[in-house]
Symmetry: C2
């Protein structure tokens, strides 16, 4: 007898789901932290601007430690799994316009496979 | 002249990235909230169990409000974008084993496109 067919996955709930690391470690921690590098203000700005731009199906969330602290402030956009290191509101604007509105990439701000956290 | 080729995206940094909504609203809020429905304990349990299971490339994070409060406690797994509503540690175990270790789906716990937040 044939197996039952596997049902398809539901359609994506959000077209793009952004997670901004807002983890904060104590001052002077060896790894630093995204919040210590200013991620909370960037998150707030990104939420406001995404709403102003009326980007349908885009959700901006804060998240706990994404474990790329050394390369923060870090954010990741799913489902495509692209990571960025924005440092200014202008960087956030460029990610919103180029990536989230246009479907492109902001190469100069992307983390890549060479941005690896040192062991130990 | 041909356009420059578009560079490929970097490989995924995590094989599976789980976000557990830990938003908490005041008691009695009309929408409720995932933390009020017990998500923080489920997040803690999931982090511990994922580590015990030694699931390589799997990251468990908390997140701010994922905006499916009525169907919480909510979590989402990317890049596949599958949403679950776990209510017990046993539900978490099943998601870890079936989805994150086995690549399958726990249909009975999945949110689907019919789980839509009421307007207004």
């Amino acid at each position: 007898m044939p197996d039952s067919p596997v049902p398809p996955d539901p359609p994506p709930y959000f077209r793009a789901h952004v997670f901004v690391c807002c983890n904060r470690r104590p001052d002077g921690h060896r790894r630093g932290s995204c919040a210590a590098r200013g991620s909370e203000k960037l998150r707030d700005y990104m939420k406001v601007r995404a709403k102003e731009l009326g980007l349908a199906g885009v959700r901006i969330n804060q998240a706990g430690c994404l474990d790329r602290c050394e390369f923060g402030p870090a954010l990741v956009i799913y489902p495509e799994g692209i990571w960025y290191r924005p440092e200014t509101p202008a960087d956030i604007d460029e990610i919103l316009e180029t990536h989230l509105r246009g479907g492109g990439r902001v190469r100069r701000l992307m983390l890549t496979e060479t941005d690896v956290v040192p062991k130990g």
